[in-house]
């Protein structure tokens, strides 16, 4: 994913404003001030058409990158100058990065909802250790918990464990569930099923690698099968 460089790293229009306390002002006030001080109409921020912008800002705040803030401000400026659709459809170069980052965050959530594997623990608890590149653990838990209304789901992160039960998210010490992280008793059943679905005449490792990037191969149990198949091609 490209990031901003040089002049673009400065905050554009927002270089000329002083920082303000966000909690002390409503969006309506800010829209009014923007019009009075800069003659820019951002009334769409108060309408339903402005809501996706906040969704994208939230997505970008979860995207792990050193230029996170610069991209948000630069995209906001494009939205105010050229219209919200210009920004939200990713037409400008910075807007394109802005929209792509939200997409990357939700793509990780969608991918992990499919790829994570649970190990059963005690008391209807299911434990998993995802492979995350962005700040998405809580989103993943909320999304996947709808399939498990009677279970406690636990995601082990580097420094803690996130737990969701009955829609409520909490954080606990990682060591409480660490022992359940590496249960491979089901691996043989999965390998058997996985291999049964493979049509060797249609082998296409490049496509397989596109849909399961190599960075996940050492994390997924079938990664070793993909590695093996990619070696036999050479």
């Amino acid at each position: 994913m490209p990031s901003l460089r040089g002049e673009q790293e400065k905050l554009g229009l927002f270089m000329h404003t002083t920082g303000i306390e966000a909690d002390a002002h409503s969006i309506a006030d800010l829209v009014k001030r923007l019009y009075q001080e800069c003659s820019l109409n951002a009334s769409w921020l108060l309408e339903p058409s402005g809501k996706p912008l906040f969704h994208h800002i939230a997505g970008n705040l979860r995207y792990q990158s050193p230029d996170q803030t610069a991209v948000i401000f630069a995209a906001l400026e494009q939205a105010i100058r050229y219209g919200h659709a210009y920004c939200l459809c990713g037409i400008g170069d910075v807007s394109r990065i802005f929209v792509a980052r939200t997409r990357a965050v939700w793509h990780e959530v969608h991918r992990m909802v499919g790829f994570i594997r649970f190990n059963p623990a005690t008391d209807n608890t299911l434990v998993t250790t995802p492979r995350l590149y962005h700040n998405t653990a809580d989103l993943i838990l909320h999304k996947i918990s709808v399939k498990y209304p009677k279970n406690r789901l636990v995601v082990l992160l580097a420094d803690k464990a996130l737990v969701i039960e009955n829609g409520k998210l909490t954080s606990v010490a990682r060591h409480e569930y660490e022992q359940y992280a590496n249960d491979d008793s089901f691996e043989k059943a999965w390998d058997t099923y996985y291999n049964s679905q493979y049509i060797e005449a249609r082998k296409n490792i490049r496509l397989a690698q596109r849909v399961i990037p190599r960075k996940y191969w050492d994390w997924l149990t079938e990664g070793k099968i993909l590695e093996q198949e990619s070696t036999t091609m050479l």
């Binding site: 219209g83 659709a85 990713g90 969608h110 049964s196 493979y198 296409n204 490792i205 496509l207």
Partner: protein
């Protein structure tokens, strides 16, 4: 036989069936203990051939009394025959689901004793999942040819999707594949039963599958058949499976159908379902097959040069969908953005998601034509090089696949 050994045989028996999980907001179980059909399109893994694994796709049994010439489970073929007990299969599936290895169940079966006997066993699995395990996730049940009306009704009640494989587009084609399947009564009649019961069940859909390249059918035959089913029987989706010869079957001498042919059919199917094309828009060669060198949308554009170029800032949404390189999402973005901002250069269109390499010869941007005028005025197929099928790295679908024409 051990459960894992059965899983190997019965999983392999189902691998040629094509399926995907779909979202449905309709719940089948009150106070569900586990399972949900939202969101859709979740893939839990991909095989080394790049196909998505989203469902637990197995046969209930590979015993079969039918003689379908393409099928590894056909009667008379010397293979180990096994079956899952309904309880056993339900338990195994729940173990996969609980651990989030699969998104739902796709259950098919060979025909064991009779279609009625097999359907009742299949339905039993779904009943165990819905009532004992209170599973509210995705279940796809295969309806076997010759299933009774009440069996179809029960299957539709329990499942989120049902399907009945057409396999071939007409009775004469089907006769080359099976001497025991009746096209009119069992297949079309089965479609009619499914369609009538679906009208009483919200959130349930049906699909079908064609085998491509085993019975001498043309692409026009398959597309026309699917189009009729979409209109007449409210079919949701048709799937196409390129024929792969299986040893010790009557069709083992027929070469494998190229995967490219399967993909062209899917592209054509998408044009009909999502792009507003009708069957008369499609371009077939004299053989009745699609042009495998060009994707069907590009073929349409070349065949109708009088419709192009379109001005990107003025063309309607439905006309934009006719332009190669513009899909529903990018067409929608164009329409949204140009309310406040006129597109001025190609880079903006690229950011809107248009595949410029394909689209530029068929559009103008603010009155300016940026494509190749010679090609547009005198379109000739040899002048066009098929640059990419999807315009992105999905070209990898063909990168290493062996074609046997």
């Amino acid at each position: 036989m051990e459960t894992l050994d059965k899983l190997k045989l019965l999983g392999e028996g189902a691998k040629y069936d094509v399926c995907a999980s779909t979202a449905s907001r309709t719940s089948k179980v009150k106070n569900a203990a586990i399972g949900k059909t939202m969101p859709s399109g979740v893939c839990h893994s991909f095989t080394p051939d790049g196909r998505c694994i989203s469902l637990f796709k197995v046969l209930l049994t590979n015993y079969c009394e039918r003689d379908c010439a393409y099928c590894p489970n056909q009667a008379g073929r010397d293979i180990p025959r096994v079956r899952f007990a309904p309880d056993e299969l339900a338990t195994l599936f729940m173990e996969f689901y609980r651990r989030n290895y699969v998104e739902g169940l796709f259950l098919s079966s060979g025909m064991w004793h009779s279609s009625q006997n097999t359907m009742s066993e299949t339905i039993k699995v779904a009943e165990i999942l819905r009532t004992r395990y209170k599973f509210d996730g995705y279940i796809h049940l295969k309806v076997l040819p010759g299933a009774s009306d009440s069996e179809v009704q029960t299957a539709v009640k329990l499942a989120n999707r049902v399907s009945l494989n057409m396999e071939a587009p007409s009775a004469s084609h089907l006769a080359k594949l099976s001497s025991r399947k009746n096209f009119a009564d069992e297949l079309l009649g089965g479609m009619a039963k499914i369609s009538s019961h679906l009208s009483h069940q919200r959130g349930v859909s049906h699909s079908t599958q064609y085998i491509v390249g085993a019975a001498g059918e043309s692409d026009r035959d398959i597309v026309s058949s699917a189009n009729t089913l979409y209109k007449k029987f409210r079919l949701k989706r048709a799937y196409f499976s390129a024929f792969q010869p299986v040893e010790n079957t009557p069709l083992s001498h027929i070469p494998a159908a190229p995967v490219l042919r399967e993909n062209r059919l899917y592209q054509t199917d998408f044009l009909l379902r999502l792009y507003g094309f009708n069957i008369n828009d499609l371009v077939f060669q004299s053989s009745g097959n699609l042009d495998y060198d060009l994707d069907p949308k590009l073929a349409y554009a070349l065949y109708n040069p009088d419709l192009f170029p379109l001005e990107i800032n003025k063309a309607s949404y439905s006309n934009l969908l006719k332009v190669p390189g513009i899909g529903p999402r990018s067409a929608e973005r164009i329409v949204r953005v140009r309310r406040h901002h006129a597109f001025k250069d190609a880079a903006e269109l690229k950011n809107a998601g248009i595949v410029l390499k394909r689209a530029l010869s068929f559009i103008t941007v603010n009155g300016k034509f940026l494509g190749n005028k010679v090609l547009l005025n005198k379109p000739s197929r040899p002048s066009f090089e098929q640059l990419s099928l999807w315009g992105d790295s999905r070209d990898f679908m063909f990168a290493n696949t062996v074609f046997n024409n």
